[in-house]
Symmetry: D2
Subunit: 474 residues, 4 copies
Amino acid sequence: MGKWWDEECGIVGVYGHPEAANLAYLCMYALQHRGQESAGIVSSTGSRMFSHRSMGLVQDVFNEDILMKLPGSLAIGHVRYSTAGSSLLKNAQPYAMESSRRGRLAVGHNGNLVNARAIRETLEDSGAIFQSATDTEVIVHLMAQAGSGRLIDKIGFATGQILGAFSAVFMTDKEVAGCRDPWGFRPLVVGKVKNAYILASETCALDLVGAIYEREVQPGEVVIINENGLTSYANMPTRKHARCVFEHIYFARPDSKIFGDSVYAVRKRLGAKLYEEQPAEADVVICVPDSGRVAAIGYAEAAGLPYEEGLIRNHYVGRTFIEPSHAIRNFGVKVKLNAVKSVLEGKRVVVVDDSIVRGTTCQKIVHMLREMGGAKEVHFRISSPPVTHPCYYGIDTPTKEELCYNVMDGNVSGICDFITAESLGYISVPGMLEAVRDGKDLGFCDACFTGNYPVTVIDDLENKQMELFLQEIE
Amino acid sequence: MGKWWDEECGIVGVYGHPEAANLAYLCMYALQHRGQESAGIVSSTGSRMFSHRSMGLVQDVFNEDILMKLPGSLAIGHVRYSTAGSSLLKNAQPYAMESSRRGRLAVGHNGNLVNARAIRETLEDSGAIFQSATDTEVIVHLMAQAGSGRLIDKIGFATGQILGAFSAVFMTDKEVAGCRDPWGFRPLVVGKVKNAYILASETCALDLVGAIYEREVQPGEVVIINENGLTSYANMPTRKHARCVFEHIYFARPDSKIFGDSVYAVRKRLGAKLYEEQPAEADVVICVPDSGRVAAIGYAEAAGLPYEEGLIRNHYVGRTFIEPSHAIRNFGVKVKLNAVKSVLEGKRVVVVDDSIVRGTTCQKIVHMLREMGGAKEVHFRISSPPVTHPCYYGIDTPTKEELCYNVMDGNVSGICDFITAESLGYISVPGMLEAVRDGKDLGFCDACFTGNYPVTVIDDLENKQMELFLQEIE
Amino acid sequence: MGKWWDEECGIVGVYGHPEAANLAYLCMYALQHRGQESAGIVSSTGSRMFSHRSMGLVQDVFNEDILMKLPGSLAIGHVRYSTAGSSLLKNAQPYAMESSRRGRLAVGHNGNLVNARAIRETLEDSGAIFQSATDTEVIVHLMAQAGSGRLIDKIGFATGQILGAFSAVFMTDKEVAGCRDPWGFRPLVVGKVKNAYILASETCALDLVGAIYEREVQPGEVVIINENGLTSYANMPTRKHARCVFEHIYFARPDSKIFGDSVYAVRKRLGAKLYEEQPAEADVVICVPDSGRVAAIGYAEAAGLPYEEGLIRNHYVGRTFIEPSHAIRNFGVKVKLNAVKSVLEGKRVVVVDDSIVRGTTCQKIVHMLREMGGAKEVHFRISSPPVTHPCYYGIDTPTKEELCYNVMDGNVSGICDFITAESLGYISVPGMLEAVRDGKDLGFCDACFTGNYPVTVIDDLENKQMELFLQEIE
Amino acid sequence: MGKWWDEECGIVGVYGHPEAANLAYLCMYALQHRGQESAGIVSSTGSRMFSHRSMGLVQDVFNEDILMKLPGSLAIGHVRYSTAGSSLLKNAQPYAMESSRRGRLAVGHNGNLVNARAIRETLEDSGAIFQSATDTEVIVHLMAQAGSGRLIDKIGFATGQILGAFSAVFMTDKEVAGCRDPWGFRPLVVGKVKNAYILASETCALDLVGAIYEREVQPGEVVIINENGLTSYANMPTRKHARCVFEHIYFARPDSKIFGDSVYAVRKRLGAKLYEEQPAEADVVICVPDSGRVAAIGYAEAAGLPYEEGLIRNHYVGRTFIEPSHAIRNFGVKVKLNAVKSVLEGKRVVVVDDSIVRGTTCQKIVHMLREMGGAKEVHFRISSPPVTHPCYYGIDTPTKEELCYNVMDGNVSGICDFITAESLGYISVPGMLEAVRDGKDLGFCDACFTGNYPVTVIDDLENKQMELFLQEIE
């Protein structure tokens, strides 16, 4: 059902195209699912930079007039959902700075650092002043301290000190760069359209601008793109790879390829493996739209059961919908979903979703399937294991205490009773990893399911928001 | 693909609920797909009426503050996409009037009259002044001329003179009423939640507020709801029934029941019949999301082929998206859809949609499936017959000259060549009617496919917009 | 101090200028003091009309883009402060109508009818439907009933039935017209700029567009301007003239000429006469800015005392200022005015204003002059007699019970005690009339000072607002 | 006429009042004439700070809701017109920073530094990053470098390095402070309301909140206000006093007391001295409203001539007025002013203003007085000497080349011919200083009239805007 697993950011870089800002805009539009809170583009003509950032969706933040005021053949772009740093314009990215001696620099960052606060305090002790609460500003301060050398050296100086998840794009007057942290938490791909290079979080951005997918930026790799083309550097320490498995399960668009694999194919395999581990005697398989659809198709195919659309989503659900306070209390998911009686009536129904955040939503869906749809039995199946630990690498998760599985002390049959389903089944962690890997030898981070954190958390991240001293009212 | 077949309106009436406006709001929210241009509610406390109407989506037009200023246990609501009357606030509905002698009246109307202009000219000759270009104002003027009698008599006086499509809701200080024209073009259903009555265009509105579906308002029936409960009247002339078949094919939500039948079930039958009439040698069936999904599932099931999601829709496509003028020319549907390579690569693909409006869109989809997705063959299948004639009963269709099928002189293989598919197949008119009726004896209007118009058009509807003398700049 | 004596409207008509809407806009800008609630222009190209009306100031309602969409060489304009009809967009003027048989008509009206409700009820009995609560709509309905004759005949038909104050402008496709009621309550002047005619409420509008003042439209006169130039008609009954004396005292701009006389000169004479009737032993004369300035200069000159600016007005006082609820309670006029110690300290001060609405404001001014300014004595002088009766001819006055003078039972020394001044003096009614007339034989309405109403009030005007049945929330 | 001499800023500090933000708001409202571009308040509860800053007028930026979200008994406020730093939200003040080790600090600044750029470059060399182009950020960076000591020490460290004009307010969690640069360019006063202290640019702010004027902050003085009351420090170097004489001539409100003297009294003395130096044979004295009014009254009194209001100002002139491009070309000042014929006709008129910026405006006024008003002779008198040099201490002046007097090579009779007046007279520099000082021994800066700059300009201020590298589109 998502909506709690808020994705953090999407990033874009464009080098060598006469309409760099337009391309960045389109790429960000394709990456909108990765962040709906703010959007920004900084472009460069080679001697001057232009910037526009604002709260809102890409299509609302930009228009033709604004894009025309972002000239140049270099651009980087960013869509953001806040993780660290609250919902303020000043936290919008890309972050841009200028020094009369050392020139201009713009940075956009996806991920979350686990030692940003510690670094920040050290910098403040030497007189530095911070404007925002973003990790990006920490990166920029480190780069400023690296002196007036080459971009790759500044990036090396900064990435040598930060820990955690960071896929990032950089821009100076004449260069665009990208990097991934050595664990490879967040995706970043390279594509080409004619002679222009595109960096983007997912391949769906390349598809929209007609760019050909070249390859992933590798974990720990820095790519510098300038008049000499793309040069690859490997100046970060080597780490055990820890790709975010939730990118495949939920965040990425099913039409994207990330970590070298098709998201759609991974989800179908998860559905099939889910059936293998958690079969059900049933008449029909449906999904919770749209998050559970591909896994449901995989489940149905593996089970040899018909796939139907038993829940219909209202396409006009928007951010501004306000449930009238008294009218129909707790009608919850009804505002988003409705059951289709002709699909469900008298049937034993398997309903597939990608995760359970709050049990109450599942409970309402089971109730809807039964009461409004007339389902005889409801078997809930989840294409990810139970989430038991918060993420510190860039995803906005509930606290440990809020997680449904923890609330029920890991008692699955208790959760099943609570949601009033006939049965409930999650995929197992090994099953999930097997389905995701499909025989390849790829390292993934599964900390949210296992608590095995690949990088030690230095800062007190639970209280990260608290450090904001000043409450801006906007 | 819709977007050309713009639905005209959705209507709602609530009687006997302490939060009538809140219920109307929720119902309108469920009916948002029927009209996205303006929304309005008029409520009554029994001695006073309150109104709010504005351009925009239901969730943007209303908020808790505004709903609190619409007190009373009676309310009617309206969502609108302009057919007659241009996109102006003054054309927003419900239309409300007051006469110091004859009291208050509010009306909301779905459909299109074919003799409104003729009636209007007669009324103007006797000194009447019109404020808007809506059919609704004509109905209200006729009711005002009926004198100071009972509501049913005023409705009878008006409906005795108007011709065409009209499902409507009415409200006086203490009564709510609803009616359907004697042909039954547009749907209208009755539900109950506790002691309150709900009138709504589709059952999905009843579902959202937890109301139980009672029955359809019948073609030619007027229902008056007041302190004596619901009373049914049949004071209109009898006509041959002509339910709009396009409501089932495209307009209505698949989770609704209209004309006594499940829209989802009808669409699955259309898909199955489409396979029967237009089979294809293929490996996989996909849909054009979301309009073709249910028919595609029906087609796949009948064909015994796997159903997959080979095209992914960008959920953030909004009204304000502006394609940068130069960047990527003609990237057309790419902004809405993307192909999934892992589903399509090397496959013979059947792609199902509910209709073809402009061949160019189909052409781009075929191109996308082949170039981006790697499909080996593309077989396009349409779950409605070719549209050949404009609608005069409340749907905003292209003119005869713009319709793809007419442009190609009805040459299906020419269209197939144009869209570069391996094959193209439409369901036949008899096949469609058989699938929709499913053995029942129900009259449908199929004028847009056949030109058999059930009511003669009196006004010059092609030029209806022209009568607006005064260009308001808003 | 104004702010209670809200002026009702300003009207403009332009004939024969290629940029008619631009000229109307500028004239309305000069007449902004007559109405700040809404503004509207209707223009005509001879065969088509264009309209824009909105809530707000002229400069906010219009911009270059909008004015470019109002083409044609004919235009009428209107600025409005609501008297009858509440603050709704639908009450904004000019009011425009169209009949397919009888063509287009736009009307803008300044004044207030005293039998509009009675006429309206009669029209409603014959089936007419009203959209707004304005007198203007009544005039238009009457004109519509007059059939398809000449504009002058339609105006004659309507003005033959209405009673009260009405200066109005009219526009058809090819004609602009203006009229004043036979009592001549509200002003209307004619000017020319090259070959174009301008009608406007005051001459300051002519000055701004460089038009030469020609003459007043006479009480009871209709002027029709078309390709034959200006033609004068006198088809209304003759009435005893009753020009609104408050136009001279407060409403009109001091740089205007109305009723054939300079407003500035009239106000200086009122100040001089006020000194003659109400002298004071004092050291300095100051005004309440800006309303009392000209009369204060006249008073000072007649008294041979120095004139100073002892109160300074904050020019940034706007509609949106909200007094923080707790901070400084009752600081009242301080937000608008501040005392100048170097002018006032130790002085006997005469302070002149044009009227007293609420004694509390005067009290605060006296307090401010004494406490903040250090004035030794404060002598309040008012250049109009006490207001004792409400106006029914187009000015929004307090009710009888709210008027300061009535509250104190006409006890001037009681009012003086209340406002804590050393003395208080009003000009007398005969003194005022003598000063205004300056030897000429001109009829004025002084009903607000005397209760001598020149036209009997037919409708129940105190409750005029009540007839609004439907509360629109905008 | 102002409008070119844009004032830069107004500042406010409140200590020890339960509604500190409300008081700051009211003070800023009274100081609105000093800056209309942005407004901001930072408040402190002693342990937390709250901030709101936005583009726009005080009354538009704040409302009751926002003020309620600014709790605490300490607050500082700022209104701004941009001098250095362009019109961007990020340049809005007060500027607030936080260091996890060294706590919170907010600063608001009025004036302009002449070595800010030099300091900034040095700071950047040591790795500092700047967000805005304001002098204030330079001050804050210097204070951050001063380490973790007392507020007075930080202020001392910063003010020891900066040169130029700076009146400033400071706030930490528990202290409010104020200072003036050692030259005393810009005003700053202290007042008390009950036990609360108020710092403000002018006394009119004290008057509005009912505070009693205590005294000026002296040039070079720092006042720290905390639980021990107000403590005065004199830790800046001593400089020759250079109060801005233009504050008296034009910027300050006439009801204010600044530099220990009544602005109204100074302006009357300037008017009288102007008559003494530049008499005229005339019948009447008028002013250009509102800037020339007080000097005109002084001139008339000294000359023994009647004072009248011969030009009337349109009170609704707003920022959004757009002159229609074609209608009435070059109607210039007519949109703001109109002539009063009854005052001017046939008269020899002296018209007084405080300064001449562009000769074309004067020319239009002379033309208006003659053509529209019928004046026989026009004698222009200016209550300041000709401006010949730009200001580098906080006022936005035209460049040397744009100044009217320079354009005409200091040829007064040439200017007189250009504006088509019968005569033109400026007050002399010695005459001005005599009138302003009135016998007191006070140092003033008259650099804009003489070029005698009291502080050497270090930065290239003419190009100060250029340093903004990044064009933000907002």
